[in-house]
Point group: C2
Chain length 253, copies 2
DNA sequence: ATTGACATTGACGTAACGTAAAGGTGTAGC
DNA sequence: GCTACACCTTTACGTTACGTCAATGTCAAT
C-alpha cells in the first residue's frame, strides 16, 4: 500500500505538515518521490511512523528519536518491548494521578486531609519518565534488569515478615467479610474495609496495585469456581459475590 | 504554608521559570510580593496550581486553562469530577495503545496480521480527547454514561459463547499441562503451548493481556494454596509450580 | 478547459518554556 | 562586619514542533 502525505496523515491522525517536517529533519523520509515531486510512503515507512509515534507518546523529543531509530543497531522487536514496559509505567503514573484526583475530591468534601506534597503526586513522575527517555538505552537496559530483579526479588525478599502479613491479611479478609455480610451492604463501612484489606493483600501479592486489575480480579471471583467455592465455603454462600460488589464500589467501577 | 518560587516548583515538580511564566501570563499570581520583591505563594495558590497541572496533563493549552479558572462561575468540585472522568478516558486510550503495542509484537513475530489502520489505534484517540476538552461538559456527561454501560456489559456480553470457550480453555489447559509434565521441560513446545492457552484464558477473563500480570498470576499459583491445590489435585503434585515455570519462560520474566 | 482538491517549497508565527546575563537578597559561618 | 553562596529579580534571546499563510504546480473529473 502506498500513501501520499495527506493519506498517511489521515491514517495516523497527524497533520500533513508534521510529515513534511519529519522529512525535513530526516526522521522519516518517504520511500520515493513521484515524477511530479510528491512524497510517496510505503509499508516500511508506515511501520516507522508507528515507532516514532510510540516514542513521541512517551515524551521523547524528535532529535532523540532520530538518534535511536537511525542507529544501525536499532532493533524493532526490542523497541516494541521497551514501548510496552514504558507504557505500563505510564499507566501506573496515570493511576497515581487518578487516585490523586479522587483524594482531592474527598479532601474538597472535607472527608480527608491532604498534604501539599500529596496534591502533586502523579505529576512528578512525568519528569522521571522524561529523564529515562533521554538517557535512553543503557538506562532502559538497566531498567529492564531492575524489572527482572524486582520481579524475582519479590517472593525471595518477602519471606517470613511479608509472608506472615499476607496470611494474616487473608484471615482478616475472611473475618471482616463475614461481619460485613451481616450488614448486607457492600457499600457500607465494613464492606469497604474488606475491599481495602483485599487491596492491601493484592499490593503485597502483586507488588503493585491498580484499580482496574483489582476490579477484574473481583469479577473473576464470581466467575471462576475456584474462588467462588473458596469464599462461599469459608464464609457463607454468596460471599464471593458480596466481596465482588464491595470491590466494585471500592474501585469505582 | 508559604512558598517561594523554587520551593513551590520543587513541590510540584516543575521549574521556577514555569511559575514565573504562569505569573507573567496571568494564570497563577502569587498570593503576595515580599518587601524585597520575592513571589510568595499560599495554600490557595497551591490548590490552583494543582488544578492547572490537571488541565495541562489533559493536553489543554494555557490560554484555555486561564479562561476556565478565571471564570467567575468556576467550580472547583465540578472541575475535579471532570478531571476524574477525563483521566479515566485517558487511561482507556492508554490501554488501547498498550494493546496496540502487544498486537504489534505479535505481528512482528508473524503470529497475527495487522491492518495499517490498526497500527495507529490509540494515537488518534488523542485528537478526540482534545476535542472533548474543548467541547466539554455535555459530551463528557454522555461519555460518563457510556463508561458505566461498558463496564456492566463486560460479563453480560460474554454469556454463552465466550463463557463456553473459557471453560473449554480451562480443560485444555489441564490436559496440555498433564502432557507437558511428562516431558519434564517447561520450556518445551508442550509447556509453552500450555502457557499460550493460559494466556488466551486470561485474555478472555480480563478483557486484555499484559505479560507482567500474567507472570504475577503465575507466581500466585505457587504462592496461594487455592491455586496450588487446584492444579496439584487435578493434574499431579508439582503441577502449579510447573505451570508457573512455563509461564515465566513464556512471558520472558 | 475549467474546477477543486490535492501536492510542492519557502517563510514567518506561536506556545511554553530553557537558558544566560546582570544584578539584588538572606543567612550561615568566620 | 565581612564573605560566601544559594536564593531571588527582570530582561531578553533561543528552541522545539509544529501551525499557518503564500505562491505555485498537479491530478481527476466534469
Amino acid at each position: 500500500m502506498e500513501y501520499t502525505v495527506q493519506k498517511l496523515a489521515a491514517l495516523a491522525g497527524i497533520s500533513a505538515r508534521t510529515l513534511r517536517y519529519y522529512d525535513e529533519i530526516g526522521i522519516l523520509k518517504p520511500a520515493r518521490i513521484s515524477s511530479s515531486g510528491y512524497r510517496i510512503y510505503g509499508p516500511k515507512e508506515v511501520d516507522m511512523l508507528q515507532q516514532i509515534l510510540f516514542y513521541r507518546e512517551l515524551g521523547m523529543d524528535l532529535d532523540c528519536i532520530r538518534k535511536i531509530i537511525t542507529d544501525p543497531s536499532f532493533d524493532r522487536a526490542k523497541a516494541l518491548r521497551d514501548h510496552h514496559v514504558m507504557l505500563l509505567a505510564k499507566r501506573e503514573q496515570l493511576d497515581l494521578l487518578i487516585r490523586n484526583v479522587e483524594k482531592s475530591i474527598a479532601s474538597a468534601e472535607g472527608r480527608i486531609k491532604m498534604t501539599d506534597s500529596e496534591k502533586f503526586e502523579g505529576f512528578k513522575q512525568k519528569l522521571i519518565d522524561e529523564n529515562e527517555a533521554k538517557y535512553g538505552q543503557e538506562i532502559r537496559e538497566k531498567y529492564g534488569d531492575d524489572e527482572v530483579d524486582k520481579s524475582n526479588a519479590y517472593f525471595k525478599n518477602m519471606s517470613k515478615e511479608d509472608f506472615d502479613r499476607m496470611n494474616s491479611l487473608s484471615e482478616q479478609i475472611l473475618e471482616t467479610l463475614a461481619e460485613a455480610m451481616k450488614t448486607g451492604d457492600p457499600s457500607g463501612p465494613l464492606g469497604q474495609k474488606t475491599a481495602d484489606l483485599h487491596k492491601q493483600w493484592i499490593s503485597l501479592c502483586w507488588g503493585r496495585y491498580d484499580r482496574e486489575s483489582h476490579a477484574n480480579l473481583a469479577r473473576m471471583y464470581v466467575d471462576d469456581e475456584r474462588f467462588t467455592v473458596y469464599y462461599d465455603d469459608r464464609v457463607q454462600p454468596g460471599a464471593a459475590a458480596f466481596l465482588k460488589d464491595a470491590i466494585m464500589i471500592y474501585t469505582g467501577k
